[in-house]
Symmetry: C2
């Protein structure tokens, strides 16, 4: 039979990352490709205790249909945590989602008509590109500099393209590891305040800051325009798929309708379990442990790159998060390097797919969160060897 | 700030049912409104045991990012169960979703452009209407008769409207409780076989048959055109949000891409827990228990309606599922009756929202799965009283 699919299916790309993870999954490959947290840090025992407790105490409630908004006490916990950071976001302005990926899907549903302009950082997160592509927007991009988006280019592009939505990851961006400076945040907010453009601020890594100070969210600088996305994937565990989206009531009302139509509600067992885990454990102490470990892994990766990489190759030194971004000399292809590296049993993500407008062929992403120190040492040695051969 | 939302948000309706559930939630109201399974039958202890076991044995695996397709052994289990019923659906043609509601969302994403025609039964399931509305289709409807869809009208409407997608619930339909006869299934398949129209066959209640024989699925009669949706919501528990969608490889490939973009994957804890539950327990025995209970509740509701309702009022006598469908005399409004009934502390769902083309004002839906016998007796007595007063 000849199937006629929706037009959007011609345009949307299969997740390149999920595809290469299939290739890099063999145990003898040292993979810096995935965007995975370190499973050694998952609070398995604590989560098991929490699940047992909530099922014993409220089993039938948890197993019944629940509200689309999500488990209220968990939304209150998130609200409270924002309050401690000086952000006033009441629980009614927080919707629980199936990971923050679903938050992106819901934002697309609520805001995007076919052909609407979406402004992305260049490079940008692949999952967001995919989620928005479902709505067949026109993408426009503004380059990232070392201290965040190029605000002059942003101002010009806002004038030229009048985007409806801007997608940004101000902290330890995926894929580049770049963080907006305080000045860049202020300037971005100033530019955006004069527009009707919605700022989708994705903050999956904000808690994973190893050095420097926490900087203000776009949400705090631009509360009405900003939809803020958060997640427990990087500070508890991603398999539970608990993210959230914060938005003003007028937007929230639509997000809830979209959520109803999308899956009625997210799994209740995961939500109740996560909340019980947070009640019974010290999340800050746990986050501290993650930070320490990731910082050590980052430091080692940077050290190894400094010691072994040819000088023609540059890389970011992120203040947090899970990724380093490597730039090869102009004209050198990271896609070709990928094949050579895989032959040497080391893997990364080539940078090209993060550029919706093409380019980035000489860039690549390295994940440092999901490899122990031994593998980082050996993996970067292998990678440096392949780089030298290719130069 | 003035927000500009996507066009679809003007059209999509808030779930009327979820709204009235807020009104009918008080403990002194006897509610036949919700579409909830009976929580007394949830296998709480067994689910808790399963969760404890999988977290103890595979905790870190479960808490990590997983594949978009879902937990493979669970997909194999579902495949095996179909095989026992004579349906050949390999695990690769099964995608796990966040409830079957998400299956509907993914079908919309993969097939529907704005303005495409979607053919619905009249009346039709509200959740499906909502999910498809996100893609701004044109709906067209074909009436249900006592033994399934009006196939003459279906043939004519297929000719006239050339729909791209047909949505059908052949077993114990929500809201009407109607089941397609064997002859109607064959005739429907014969009509659809000559089209390129995709048949989305939603089968949430198929296992809940109290009397008569299981009848062939549309999928078995029309394998290439049919996308079959299933769920554990009615036979284990809805809070876990585990549904699935079966489709031929060419369609499945697109569904997986849409799933990646939508939420990467569904909660892994629920998937692994459900699989372990199925391994360690006799699901057929459990389903038998649900069937017995629901049959008793249905019988009692029918009995009470026969004994107390004015003769001008008719109702379906479903062979399974969770709903009865009541038709009031022409000109009598179930919306008005709803207010009067609520004053008497009994609730139902007025039929109007299930008709995308308007009408159905004199119909209403009664749920019998979520009320024990005492509440059914008292609730139908109250409802009959209100009906008599209104006549």
């Amino acid at each position: 039979m000849n199937y006629t699919f929706a037009d959007r299916m011609q345009k949307i790309r299969k997740s390149f990352i999920r595809e290469i993870l299939k290739v890099t999954g063999q145990p003898d490959v040292i993979s810096f490709a995935g965007g995975l947290p370190n499973p050694a840090l998952f609070p398995v025992k604590e989560v098991a205790d929490a699940a047992a407790k909530v099922l014993a105490e409220n089993g039938a409630d948890i197993l019944q249909y629940r509200t689309s908004e999500g488990h209220r006490p968990l939304r209150e916990f998130i609200s409270q945590r924002y309050r401690q950071k000086g952000l006033d976001i009441p629980p009614d302005e927080i919707l629980l989602t199936t990971g923050s990926q679903q938050g992106l899907d819901l934002i697309g549903k609520v805001f995007l008509n076919r052909g609407d302009r979406v402004l992305l950082e260049r490079p940008s997160y692949l999952g967001a590109i995919q989620a928005f592509e479902l709505h067949e927007p026109d993408f426009t991009v503004v380059p990232l500099r070392d201290d965040g988006i190029d605000t002059e280019a942003l101002a010009a592009e806002i004038q030229r393209a009048t985007p409806k939505l801007m997608y940004t990851v101000p902290n330890f961006q995926n894929p580049s590891g770049i963080t907006y400076s305080a000045a860049k945040r202020l300037k971005t907010a100033e530019i955006m305040a004069e527009t009707c453009c919605i700022v989708a601020e994705d903050d999956p890594y904000g808690e994973l800051r190893f050095m420097g100070e926490h900087l203000p969210t776009m949400r705090s600088l631009l509360p009405d325009n900003t939809v803020l996305l958060g997640t427990f994937s990087k500070i508890i565990a991603p398999g539970l798929r608990i993210g959230w989206i914060c938005a003003k009531p007028e937007i929230m009302e639509r997000l809830i309708i979209a959520k109803q139509a999308t899956d009625l509600h997210s799994d209740a067992l995961a939500q109740w379990t996560a909340y019980q885990y947070l009640l019974d454990n010290d999340m800050d102490a746990h986050i501290e442990k993650i930070r320490d470990r990731y910082k050590r892994q980052r430091d080692l990766m940077v050290e190894m790159l400094a010691a072994h990489c040819p000088p023609e190759i540059s890389y970011t030194q992120p203040e947090g998060g899970m990724f380093l971004w490597v730039t090869l000399p102009e004209g050198m292809s990271s896609l070709k390097l990928f094949d050579q590296a895989l032959a040497e049993k080391v893997a990364f993500v080539p940078g090209h797919p993060f550029y919706v407008d093409g380019g980035g062929d000489n860039t690549l992403r390295l994940n440092f969160s999901n490899s122990d120190e031994e593998r980082i040492e050996e993996g970067i040695r292998r990678l440096a060897r392949v780089m030298k051969q290719s130069l």
